[in-house]
């Protein structure tokens, strides 16, 4: 397992999992979402992305997931050159990452087990392998005993943990969490970030968008701050 670096100064010697070089993104509406962004995120890092509304956080994440294309500059994620990537290869990129949504995105007609297994079926896994891996993922997030529960029977925090298990089950190198604590109470927020930190300690890179400054301060991870489409700070949490 690679050693985790939380010091941006060490980045030069690490292999970046995400790299932005001179990236700008302007939407058709004329909105300049990102302007000349240069950043490297190394394998095994835990990074908070912060910024006010309209700062460019969503665009930053969308560019990483290749939901949007940059107008200028180069983006590389997990060895994929996103600027040259054809549309048909996008699913392959996304299979290397797990995504956690603010609104959980659980399928209400499926139970917890099925919601997590769904992510494996989509990539062509089946049978015993699915059962084993889903059970492991649920155990990791502390929901081993809730496999048969329906999403409606779970609390917000538990639902988000199911979302996290789903993101984890395909063993991705990178987890992108888009305000995962946005819909849960403060105690549960700490629990979720603690869980993400645990996962990060096992080597998975975590990129988490948040508005919660307390979390940023308390967890002391690298923080990238965006404002008006530019990176205005890139430091360890307490310094923001």
């Amino acid at each position: 397992m690679e050693e985790i670096s939380i010091n941006p100064a060490d980045n030069a010697v690490q292999k970046p999992i995400i790299e932005f070089r001179g990236v700008s993104k302007t939407y058709k509406t004329g909105t300049h979402a990102l302007e000349d962004v240069n950043i490297k995120i190394n394998k095994g890092e835990f990074v908070f992305v912060v910024g006010s509304s309209g700062a460019g956080k969503s665009t930053f994440m969308k560019l990483i997931m290749r939901e949007e294309k940059a107008n200028t500059g180069k983006i590389a994620v997990n060895g994929f050159d996103l600027t040259k990537m054809p549309r048909r290869q996008v699913p392959m990129l996304r299979r290397t990452m797990g995504i956690v949504f603010q609104d959980f995105r659980l399928i209400p007609t499926m139970n917890v087990f099925e919601n997590v297994a769904f992510a494996m079926h989509v990539v062509g896994d089946s049978g015993r392998h699915v059962r084993v891996e889903v059970s492991k993922a649920l155990s990791k997030v502390g929901l081993g005993d809730k496999a048969r529960s329906m999403p409606s029977q779970l609390s917000g925090g538990e639902q988000q943990r199911v979302g996290l298990a789903r993101a984890l089950v395909n063993a991705p190198d990178l987890i992108i969490a888009d305000e995962p604590t946005g819909n849960v109470d403060p105690n549960m927020s700490y629990e979720i970030v603690s869980l993400l930190t645990e996962i990060n300690k096992r080597g998975t890179t975590i990129l988490m968008v948040t508005h919660d400054h307390n979390l940023v301060r308390d967890f002391q991870h690298r923080v990238i701050m965006l404002d008006k489409g530019k990176i205005v700070a890139d430091n360890v949490g307490g310094d923001i």
Partner: protein
């Protein structure tokens, strides 16, 4: 695609039909209606063809020949000048004499059964002629006598006894295609030895027009109903797809390919098509049975196409319509969705 994925996606397609059962039932209902109408159009067209075929069989053309009886009784005035010229030539060279009725051999063209049969063979060789039956003057007279009402035969017996048989030898001609009726008549008229042709040209024209009308109407009805079927299935798939927006967004987020996302919807569409085809087949069977029983008992028609003869082709047509409507409808709708709205999974 892995076998496990195919199994999973097929299961999902079946599940979709059940989960969206209200829309599925609505689609099946409309599709069944369309298929039953298409089936009825096909059955009506098939029955019309059988009826027309029967009419065509009855629509024979009588080709009368320029034989001795034609020279004796027939309307040979128009040919008189030619005949008298040849008569003079013949009389000079062969010293031919007229018979007891004053008829020269050169007054007529068909002199015996062999020559009549030769003319029949020439007619039979024409491209649109299906069959030719030679009817001698004696047979012709018998037929006419048979068709007379009781007591009227004596009139012909009198003629037969006094002057001989007034009927000319004839060829009973059946044609293959009634649409080429006029053209074939012209070809027969050109043959040497042909006097007049008796035909029901109006009936031939009517038959050809009915046949054409049924074909054109049938094609239009089927084309319109296929389009309706396509639109109905597309709408069901569209509703299913919007109901499953969440699932699609998750699928895209975890790296599902467009094909993987498409397949369950296509299976759902195809399944709706197959279910509709099966129901339409059963429903049409009962509708047709009731209709034919009524027609047989009230109109006394017996030449009706049996459903058992048409059951398999009709089911094939229904399945094809259902499967194609389902597959094409789903493919287009989900394709459009994935290209536009479906590409954004993070901002659902």
């Amino acid at each position: 695609m892995k076998l496990s994925s195919i199994k999973y996606l097929t299961g999902e397609g079946f599940k979709n039909v059940w989960v969206n059962r209200l829309m599925s039932v609505a689609s099946v209902g409309v599709l069944v209606a369309c298929m039953v109408i298409i089936g009825l159009a096909i059955l009506i067209s098939e029955n019309a063809n059988v009826a027309i075929g029967n009419l065509e069989k009855q629509n024979v053309v009588m080709v009368y020949m320029k034989d001795y009886n034609w020279a004796l009784y027939g309307d040979s005035q128009a040919d008189d000048e030619d005949v008298s010229a040849s008569k003079e030539e013949t009389s000079d060279s062969d010293e031919a004499k007229p018979d007891k009725n004053g008829i020269y051999e050169s007054d007529y063209i068909i002199h015996n059964d062999e020559e009549a049969q030769e003319l029949c063979d020439k007619i039979a060789k024409l491209p649109n002629v299906e069959s030719v039956e030679y009817i001698s003057s004696e047979e012709g007279l018998e037929t006419v006598k048979e068709s007379m009402l009781e007591g009227q035969e004596e009139y012909f017996t009198f003629l037969d006894d006094e002057y001989g048989n007034p009927m000319s030898a004839a060829a009973k001609v059946k044609m293959k295609d009634m649409e080429l009726f006029g053209e074939t008549i012209k070809q027969i008229e050109k043959l040497d030895g042909v006097d007049v042709i008796q035909s029901q040209s109006d009936l031939a024209d009517t038959i050809a027009a009915i046949k054409k009308g049924i074909t054109v109407a049938g094609v239009w009805i089927i084309a319109i109903l296929i389009i309706i079927s396509l639109v109905i299935v597309s709408n069901t798939i569209r509703v299913t797809m919007y109901n499953r927006k969440l699932e699609i967004s998750i699928m895209k987020a975890v790296g599902a390919t467009d094909t993987f996302i498409r397949v369950p919807f296509i299976i759902e569409g195809v399944l709706i098509g197959i279910i509709s085809a099966a129901i339409a087949e059963v429903l049409l069977y009962f509708c047709y049975r009731v209709a034919t029983e009524t027609i047989v008992t009230t109109l006394g028609m017996s030449d009706i196409v049996k459903y058992s003869e048409m059951a398999l082709p009709l089911f094939g047509i229904f399945v094809c319509i259902g499967v194609l409507a389902g597959a094409i409808g789903s493919f287009i709708i989900i394709g459009k969705y994935l290209k536009h709205e479906g590409s954004e999974f993070s901002a659902l």
